[in-house]
Symmetry: C2
Subunit: 193 residues, 2 copies
DNA sequence: ACCTTGGTTCAACAAGCGTAGAACGAATGG
DNA sequence: CCATTCGTTCTACGCTTGTTGAACCAAGGT
């Protein structure tokens, strides 16, 4: 019917992709522990054994499903960084890729997910703190990261009442002075000569 | 030896408490799914069956372990609310009770925990939004809640690099302008006559 | 037409889980 | 000193999970 070019390789890649898509969705909705290989297989209308055959284990499947394109890291001056953060946030608020949501969903309960998030946050934070001319640049960077993670979490995963369906732009506008105050220096570093 | 007054009732309450304490710790460290009844029993040096005998099921045990004293809800003017939020945050940053951490740990993967958190956030948010004379009071309240949850999460559960071991007061000071900007009105409600 | 490749399914195992009910044994009360 | 309560342990059932290896069967090459 639909397979005009039904080369086996093509069909194989199709089912592989179908499995991965189902895995992403389920991981994002239920988290690592509550997502079973059997459920992923069922979502892709495939035998559980096939999932294991393509991706070696549940752990490998999770890694494949979650390692999305990590977001563009900001750089530049403090004001530029603030605006870039807000821009990145707008993206995350309008449509966060399912893979990232899967990672976020499991970051509190799955060690591997936590490590991944922690690594990402580290890199992210280094870029941010580099732009803040302050004694506590690192702390400020970590704080703003945590706060923004909280907002994304509250919208997509917890679905907090007025946050889940608000206009992204409104949230951005509300958060702008907040982010600017976090990335702006309060007291400059001591030996700045 | 140690049981000068070894009334059976007392001893019973002791082991019950020991089980509950172990449950809290394990739920806080590993979350609901990864915490097994057997592990809780082992932590209290007790047979698994006894855990089931005192708390009827794993679910009941979790509820008992997590329903902590919910934090004092703020009220008053916008500035007062901001300061109360920061004060509540200071508490949470210095020492969050293990039960609350257990609830936070599982809020993304366990439906019951999510519901509990959502209920708490709702009540919390109502108090906050009542103090904000703004069109988007609800959204602002939800946003500040989400951001602060993110900070607590980043410190205690994710243990973000410079956030986990920072001085709580520093974090508060850094966040003060942020919280004030979130609770302050940007544009007043339309029909305020 | 045959054999082979390779995508896919079948059937099953071992381990771990929550849970239930019988059984034990020391303290209690008459 | 016996009977009983009651805190606690033992044993086991049923189920689900991740994982495996053999088996099936349509497509491809020769």
């Amino acid at each position: 019917m639909k397979q005009v070019t039904d080369s086996r390789a093509q069909r194989r890649r199709d089912t592989q992709a179908r499995i991965l898509a189902g895995a992403r969705t389920l991981f994002a909705e239920r988290g690592y522990e509550r997502t079973t290989i059997r459920a992923v297989a069922a979502a892709a209308t495939v035998d559980p054994g096939l999932v294991m055959h393509y991706y070696r284990s549940k752990e490998h499947l999770f890694v494949q499903a979650t390692q999305g394109e990590l977001p563009p890291l900001p750089g530049g001056s403090a004001e530029q960084v603030a605006e870039q953060l807000l821009d990145r946030l707008r993206q995350s608020l309008t449509e966060e890729p399912t893979g990232s949501l899967a990672l976020l969903r499991s970051m509190l309960t799955h060690p591997e997910a936590a490590r991944e998030i922690l690594d990402g946050a580290r890199a992210h934070k280094d870029r941010i703190s580099a732009a803040i001319p302050d004694d506590q640049a690192d702390l400020r960077a970590a704080t703003v990261s945590a706060a923004l993670i909280g907002v994304i979490l509250g919208r997509h995963l917890l679905q907090l009442d007025h946050l889940a369906d608000a206009d992204p732009q409104q949230i951005i506008d509300i958060l702008r002075p907040c982010v600017r105050s976090l990335t702006a220096a309060d007291r400059p570093p001591r030996d700045s000569r």
